[in-house]
């Protein structure tokens, strides 16, 4: 479980919701945002051959490009302490938070990005579900 970057629960959809008109963005709109985020990554990794996307980054470069701000770091440490996150989870969180910041077009990884990244790791963590 630890190796998955993103874990989400897909709950059953209520029949009443199916009657409603479609909501959310179309594939084209999402694809445009994804393309922008990928373009930021391409520019970032231009000097690093062999790396194309955030998932490829490791080590010192990851620490450099995905360094969260003070608030984000506090949140990360708190989550790591509370849920017993592994070292692998720590690095994966940094990568995912970097991607979320890229989708927003933000240069720095801030607390909201880190919070969202942490939220995708909580499924299956005993403390998080009260088990």
């Amino acid at each position: 479980m630890d190796r998955f970057d993103l874990r989400v629960e897909v709950p059953p959809v209520a029949y009443t919701d199916l009657d409603l008109p479609p909501s959310g963005d179309s594939s084209a709109m999402v694809a445009a945002r994804v393309a922008q985020a990928r373009a930021r990554q391409t520019a970032r990794f231009a000097a690093h051959p062999g790396m194309r996307v955030n998932a490829d980054v490791e080590g010192a470069l990851l620490e450099e490009i995905a360094r969260p701000d003070t608030e984000g770091r506090a949140l990360l440490l708190q989550a790591a302490d509370r849920f017993g996150l592994t070292a692998r989870a720590y690095h994966r969180l940094l990568r995912v938070a970097r991607t979320i910041a890229d989708l927003e077009g933000a240069d720095a990884v801030r607390a909201p990005h880190m919070a969202e990244a942490i939220s995708y790791r909580l499924m299956g963590v005993p403390e998080a579900v009260g088990g």
Binding site: D5, V8, V10, S26, S27, L103
Partner: protein, 375 residues
């Protein structure tokens, strides 16, 4: 004197140049092919003989020996017919030896001399281009081979056209490249009602090439969401499209020579064998190539996959790459990986690996999922 022509042998998705040498010498009349040919290459003898008599070209009552060099490299496939026929025609002084010696050819002959489409024209064109050679391939493979613009590609429909090209009676015109297929598919994220959180996770996965796991009851829309992943991923870059197309070319999946920029979507069944998923040893088994992943892969009901699968998977999952083993050559192809499963008790947060620490590794956890279910 020996006449020479060039062709290719495939090692995984790479094409390696092979020289076809033809010697016509005095002796008991015979027609032999040496140089580690497989059954399909050995049978080229009969096809070439029949195609030449259909032209008509009479084979001399001499000893004809074909050598495929390097002789220690195994040769597989039916694409050796055309180069063998061309080397033989050059040895009989029907077409000029020096021109044929500089030409890479591939194609299967039918008994009436028509050229039948073969697999791997695109990698062959790349190999021909690297060596500065011209490529001859069947008409049906022309658009695919010409796409890379690496070399001049001629795509004759019959062996007679090859002879008329060299004799100057009817020179062939270079093949035109196939068109880039623009197909975004009809599946739109807009169709999925609700599931906003999963949609957002899908977007993040696509943006950073992260892998994601979806857990939910049957019918909640996991497959529907995963099927919409190719639609939100950016188009393949030129290099990636070439890499994908080379694989598709070897697997015979390119239709009409059209190259697609859309990322492929694969959905392996959990009963698939390990060879079917991570690539088998024989390039001949085309079905095994169908799992090649360059875009995204959806592993439905992932806990049903067997223990060996997780052992093989741990590394690709870690690196977000998929390792492809073809004839011992390993190439890693980046993929966005999307997984789904139904909820189990393991989902409630109980660690299935009781011996290990609470943060049990995925592999250990997954392997025991099946056993865990029964309790």
């Amino acid at each position: 004197m020996v006449a020479r022509a060039l062709t290719v042998a495939f090692e995984g998705i790479n094409a390696r140049l092979v020289e076809v040498q033809c010697a016509v010498s005095p002796g008991l009349p015979s027609f032999q092919i040496v140089g580690l040919p497989d059954k399909a290459v050995s049978e080229a003898r009969e096809r070439v003989r029949a195609a030449l008599s259909a032209l008509p070209v009479a084979l001399p009552s001499k000893r004809i020996t074909i050598n495929l060099s390097p002789a220690d490299l195994p040769k597989e496939g039916s694409h050796f017919d055309l180069p063998i026929a061309m080397a033989l025609l050059a040895a009989l002084d029907i077409i000029p030896r020096e021109d044929v010696a500089d030409t890479v050819a591939l194609g299967e002959l039918s008994l009436d001399g028509a050229l039948v489409a073969v697999l791997g024209a695109l990698p062959a064109a790349m190999a021909a281009g690297d060596g500065g050679h011209t490529l001859f391939c069947p008409a049906a493979c022309g658009p695919e081979a010409a796409w890379v613009d690496a070399t001049r590609v001629f795509a004759p429909a019959t062996l007679a056209q090859v002879i008329r090209h060299y004799s100057g009676q009817a020179p062939l015109t270079p093949a035109r490249p196939g068109e880039v297929v623009q197909d975004r598919g009809t599946r739109d994220l807009f169709d999925v009602k609700g599931q906003e959180r999963a949609k957002r996770a899908l977007e993040i996965a696509a943006a950073g090439r992260h892998h994601m796991l979806m857990v939910g009851t049957p019918g909640s829309g996991k497959s529907m969401l995963a099927a919409r992943l190719p639609g939100i991923l950016p188009d393949l870059s030129a290099g990636e499209a070439l890499e994908t197309s080379m694989i598709h070319s070897i697997a015979g999946l390119l239709e009409q020579g059209g190259i697609s920029r859309t990322r492929p979507f694969r959905e392996p069944h959990h009963t698939a064998s390990v060879a079917a998923i991570v690539g088998g040893a024989k390039a001949q088994n085309r079905a095994r190539f169908r799992w090649l992943i360059t875009g995204c892969c959806f592993w439905m009901n992932c806990r049903n996959f067997r223990a060996w699968f997780w052992k093989h998977c741990a590394s690709p999952l870690k690196q977000a790459k998929w390792l492809l083993r073809v004839r011992m050559r390993i190439s890693a192809i980046p993929a966005v990986s999307c997984w789904s499963r139904r909820p189990t008790r393991a989902n409630a947060g109980i660690c299935p690996n009781r011996r290990g620490p609470a943060r049990a590794r995925l592999s250990a956890g997954m392997i025991t999922w099946a056993a865990f279910q029964g309790r």
